[in-house]
Amino acid sequence: MEKAKISAFQLFVMIALFEFGSAILIPLAIGAKQDAWLSIVMGMVGGFLLFFIYYRLYLYYPDMLPTGYVQKIIGRIPGKMLAFLYMIYFIYLASRDLRDFGAMLVTSTYPDSPLFVVNALLMLLVIYTLRFGIEVLARTGELLFFLFLLITVSALVLISSSGLIDFRQLQPVLENGFYAVFKTVYMETLYVPFGEAIVFTMIFPYLNERKKLKRVYISAMTLSGLSLAFAMIINVSVLGVDLTSRSQFPILSTIQMIELAEFLERLDVYFLLVLIIGIFFKLSLYFYVAASGIADLFQVKEPSQLIYPMGIIILLSSISIAGSYAEHIEEGLKLATIYVQLPVQVVIPAVLLIIAFFKNKKTKALPA
């Protein structure tokens, strides 16, 4: 574990930026059609439930990284193996995000640039950042958060003042019944992006004000969840269900619609900055957590030594992870959710919590 402390506000910012990250890019929960926003809100509530699993585990072992307490819960060797699987999972998610972003850039703005170069440049930035450790990442997050707010609020003002929003597109609510919404929740939004916050279990031990953790986490989740839902409302009400679901990057399509005073148009490049901030942050967190976890598992004294080789691994796997963007999205939103995200984010932590509960009951019963 790195010798570092982060403040409650820094954790708040990190969670908020992380949740925005790639989720704002992709057509999230569009399976629920115009009720996508509802699905996002429900996913958020599900995310709260997941948080309590992680939170209880954290309360049992507040000074340890999950890579450490897993070994306490299920034994040293199985614990190490499980923890290692988690690190691979984080590397996988990091590669996915890098691919999301690279594909977005190549499709929208740089059709002639190779994906590898686009990805490699972002990776360089992330490597540069992570050499400084979590504290600098947290501070960077604070600054970028203000920039993020500034740009998103200005985007909102521009969209609403260009008269694009038509809330009738959101009607009828629950057209296909409640089940259709619920299905996207447990198939999609619960895991992406809310369950993905399992990555923060590796950050919790750095928090300096432990009592605030619950409040910070819930408020950050609520902020980002509602904003994502709101972004989806805007997307659907500007583009309509049909266009939104067919668009690869609905938020970019929405922003491209802005045309104000015959002067402000095609602002997608301007909003590129928001997307870069979001992805940069999400990627850095996954990467940092994977690196610090592996350093913890294999007793590497300097986690920063791992940054360069792991950066190359993430970069290469972001290219080789899928043959095409369609395959990539299919894999991420259909297959990975059920076969990877569900067990990793929900089932295993729940089982661990149950074991930890009984273990700690025994030990606590003795002295108390």
Binding site: L122, L125, L143, L273
Partner: protein, 533 residues
């Protein structure tokens, strides 16, 4: 390699020998001979022999470093007029009595060490030696020709005190003391530089300063082991946290009011003799966008101006880069009407936008550098040539487009609109990095470099204080004085990270009492009781 080690060893030995300091020889003639010899018979070392009563003595000083009036009227004259002591005493005992009775100067000091005496002579003091004793009297008669107190040339303000620091450390300390009448303003001095022995003073307000920062400043100053420290820039570079950064992590200022304000915030001032630039540490990024005047003008105006400065900094940083990116990669961003104009202009230009921008920026940098170094008499030539070269000829020759000229002029002006010269210099350098990124990857490149810059800024520290505080880490109580400035009534707190020993600046209750009716409603005014008649 071998010689390197050898040299180090001898250096150590030399240090040891100077440790056992020689005493002043008690024979005056031997003493004066050594002085002459040690100073290489330099004619500006003045040795004035005199007799005080029946004692033989000499006053030694350096010509030009002393003030000749006090040396004549307060030192030589009373000594020469000194009446013989009632009973003859050995010189050892006589000297203190004579000094006490006859030297009409504020500061005198006794020493037996030869080294100290000779350093005092070359440092601008006058030293009195007497035959038969190894004690010498050091008298402070520092003076000589110096620049008088003038308006600060680098940080001009419309409102506020006009005095700027001078090259004399004593004057500078006095200028600060004139603004804070407080015995808690403490000054520590030390000599830095093996050859130059430059006086360096550390100034702070006891009780407000953070002990950790102060200790760190002391420790880093003591570690300096250089031949000479000629300007505070030397000290700045030797004690800063991070050498490999384009951003300054220590503030320098020429204005006493800025130093005073910073001392009140709990910072430490480092004053180096021989330069009007005083250092302040720890520094944070936002400070470089603040000027003293912000605090003297109304808060809303000050806030607006600070915002403007941030904008100016950004333009100066990424102005040309945005032009390059937009014309090279993102033409669709430019509104059609404008695009046609720009495209028509660029039609005849033989270079890509990046080369065009580079030519113009470098031309401007050359002109700027020439303007600084050029004798004043031909200064106007530069502006005429510059205006012709940049403005007219380049466009008419079709080498650059008029739009590019506008961009370069704007960035040129913005780099002068930042209150701090040192941060403007950072932007000036980084601009070229941004231009390169824009030329190769458009806005994506600009955004990446921008983010890398933010990461870099967040990783910096100044004497342990994060450089981007109070924004990152976010400290809500201190945000009132960053890129915005809240009314003075609201700024009740010292910066938390280094002003924590006494965090409260002002108490409640100084606000105007709004419950009292004002203006025409005030009965007293209506009834004419408070009329000026």
């Amino acid at each position: 390699m071998k010689s390197f080690f050898k040299r180090r060893k001898t250096a150590v030995r030399a240090k040891q020998s100077s440790g056992s300091e020689d005493l002043i020889p008690s024979s005056l003639s031997a003493n004066l001979d050594t002085i002459r010899q040690k100073t290489g018979y330099s004619p500006d070392i003045i040795i004035r022999t005199l007799s005080i009563g029946h004692y033989k003595a000499a006053v030694v000083y350096t010509d030009g470093l002393i003030d000749s009036v006090p040396i004549q009227e307060s030192l030589l004259e009373p000594l020469l007029k000194h009446e013989a002591l009632p009973k003859p005493l050995p010189p050892d005992e006589a000297l203190p009595i004579i000094a006490r009775q006859s030297i009409a100067l504020g500061s005198i000091q006794f020493t037996k060490k030869y080294e100290e005496a000779i350093l005092a002579v070359v440092g601008g003091d006058a030293v009195l030696f007497m035959d038969g004793t190894s004690t010498a009297v050091i008298t402070d008669v520092k003076g000589g020709e110096r620049r008088s107190i003038q308006e600060a040339s680098t940080q001009v303000s419309v409102r506020g005190p006009k005095e700027g620091f001078t090259e004399s450390m004593a004057t500078n300390i006095a200028l600060i003391r004139r603004m804070i009448h407080n015995p808690n303003v403490w000054v520590e001095t030390m000599k830095v530089g093996k050859q130059t022995k430059t006086d360096v003073a550390v100034m702070y307000i006891n009780g407000l300063v953070s002990e950790e920062v102060l200790g760190e400043v002391r420790r880093r100053l003591k570690k300096i082991n250089m031949d000479g420290v000629l300007e505070s820039g030397y000290v700045e570079q030797l004690i800063e946290d991070e050498t490999f950064t384009p951003f300054p992590t220590i503030i320098n200022t020429e204005r006493p009011d800025i130093v005073t304000a910073n001392l009140l915030e709990g910072r430490v001032a480092i004053i180096v003799n021989g330069t009007p630039f005083v250092l302040l540490a720890p520094a944070v990024f936002v400070q470089f966008f603040q000027s003293a005047e912000d605090y003297y003008s109304r808060f809303d105006i000050a806030t607006a101006i600070r915002m403007l400065r941030v904008l100016v900094f950004l333009i100066s940083l990424i102005g040309p880069a945005v032009y390059i990116a937009a014309t090279t990669f993102h033409q669709e961003m430019i509104p059609t009407g404008l695009l046609i104009i720009v495209a028509a202009q660029r039609d005849n230009v033989p270079f890509p936008a990046f080369v065009e921008a580079l030519i113009m920026e470098i031309t401007f940098e050359i002109l700027r550098e020439a303007g600084v170094r050029m004798p004043k008499a031909i200064g106007s030539t530069v502006s005429i040539v510059g205006a012709l070269v940049i403005g007219q000829a380049a466009v008419q020759a079709g080498i650059v487009s008029p739009a590019m000229v506008i961009i370069v002029s704007i960035t040129a002006i913005t780099s002068f609109a930042t209150p701090s010269y040192s941060i403007a210099m950072s932007a000036r350098l980084l601009r070229f990095l941004f231009m390169g990124a824009a030329a190769s990857f458009g806005f994506y490149g600009v955004a990446l470099i921008f983010m890398a810059m933010i990461v870099h800024l967040c990783s910096l520290r100044s004497f342990g204080v994060p450089y981007m505080s109070p924004l990152a880490p976010f400290i809500a109580k201190n945000v009132g004085d960053t890129f915005i400035r809240l009314p003075l009534l609201f700024s009740k707190n010292r910066p938390r990270l280094f002003g924590h020993s006494n965090p409260t600046r002002s108490e409640r209750g100084q606000e105007y009492d709004h419950s009292v009716p004002k203006g025409m409603v005030n009965k007293k005014t209506v009834e004419g009781e408070t009329n000026e008649t």
